[in-house]
Symmetry: C2
């Protein structure tokens, strides 16, 4: 038996928070919005929204992403759920965090009806955020770092064509370590990548070769079980 009526359970709301990670200037960044309404008006926050009663969760997260970036068909990774009874001042709201990895230069960000301002913020410069969003963001960033070690998700953050040094710097930022150039290249020797003839432009030193991730070949090798991405 329950201590309350069955129907009284159906009095909660849930939201998705959608953490959008990008990479530029050697740093992993998250898209933050400045809230245009109470509660926590004028605080920076992770974009998120309530989920409609008939809407699927990842769909809702994709909707938030679409509104802010115009991007669709981006894979949403599920993070954790956060449900402390008092985390939202207006009622019981449980939030399910999702995160998306995108290429910063591929689109224009737009503020939305519920955001006054919007900006990319490097993960080592996150200010105080609304609600429990500092906690949500840092837990989700840990998950991202985990994935960077075990899955080739770095290529969702890097430009379609990138230099090996850009790739190395991404890992150096995420893992907060310095790496040896020669050793890094040995480590990624078996990652399926395409070497292009194209070179870096407008640099005042020897231009680096551009690479792109060979997704097809990667899927093949994983299916044949003779390769497992590992950093």
């Amino acid at each position: 038996m329950y201590l309350i009526n069955f129907s009284d359970f159906f009095t909660s709301a849930f939201s998705v928070d959608c953490i959008i990670f990008g990479y530029s200037e050697g740093k992993i960044k998250a898209l933050l919005i400045k809230r245009a309404m109470e509660p926590y008006e004028n605080f920076w926050a992770v974009p998120g929204d309530l989920v409609y009663p008939a809407e699927d969760l990842p769909q809702a997260a994709e909707r938030v992403l679409l509104e802010l970036t115009g991007l669709s068909n981006v894979h949403m990774h599920q993070s954790q759920s956060f449900g402390k009874p008092n985390r939202h001042p207006n009622g019981r709201v449980i939030t399910i965090a999702y995160f998306a990895l995108i290429r910063i230069d591929d689109f224009e960000i737009k503020a939305s009806s519920w955001a006054d301002d919007i900006k990319w913020t490097a993960m080592d410069e996150i200010p105080e955020l609304a609600f429990d969003h500092n906690f949500i963001l840092s837990e989700t960033y840990s998950l991202l770092k985990q994935k960077l070690l075990n899955e080739p998700v770095c290529f969702d953050l890097l430009p379609e064509r990138f230099t090996l040094n850009e790739m190395q710097q991404l890992y150096e930022f995420a893992l907060e370590t310095e790496m040896d150039k020669a050793n890094f290249r040995k480590k990624i020797k078996y990652v399926p990548m395409i070497a292009h003839d194209e070179k870096q432009q407008n640099v005042k030193h020897r231009p680096a070769k551009l690479f792109s991730f060979n997704k097809k070949e990667y899927s093949n090798q994983v299916a044949k079980k003779d390769y497992q991405f590992k950093m």
Copy 2:
């Protein structure tokens, strides 16, 4: 602006599903219940319950665990959330899965008001379950396997005092591989464990030494950053 009234968002319910993992006879097992009520009456299912409007999520999961096992103060690990709009026939119910790791021999399991029967089922013998519980269980098991590789959670499943072979067999089952005895022992050489004088009893071969996990020493070393559990 929202397409529906703000209050209409507060028409959903949350549940927690609480996957209880144990280890015996060389296999990782999950505690399943036979449902005593509709929907899915008489189906096997993962134990779970609705969350009270003012209840914290991990608290609710602990409540479910307590009712079935009498155990409290067990750390609940969060798994994923599952929220397809039609996953529950009686309304929109989002479930947050948690999992607990316990020592099977440390307690008596008891059926509860909402369960007709209850049993331990090995992870390679899971039957068809109610709702989307097959999916929830297999996703959560993947997470457990992940944790077994990166955190010393195997000691929550093993008896307080265990043999190195029992530990090896746990990993062999989880990773679905066979391991070399000598190499396994080299790999765990730096895991902080206490070797006891006590030996295995009632075996018809040379009795093995019993070990236990040195949690205090582990915490120390992790704090000093000179050790990181890794299998």
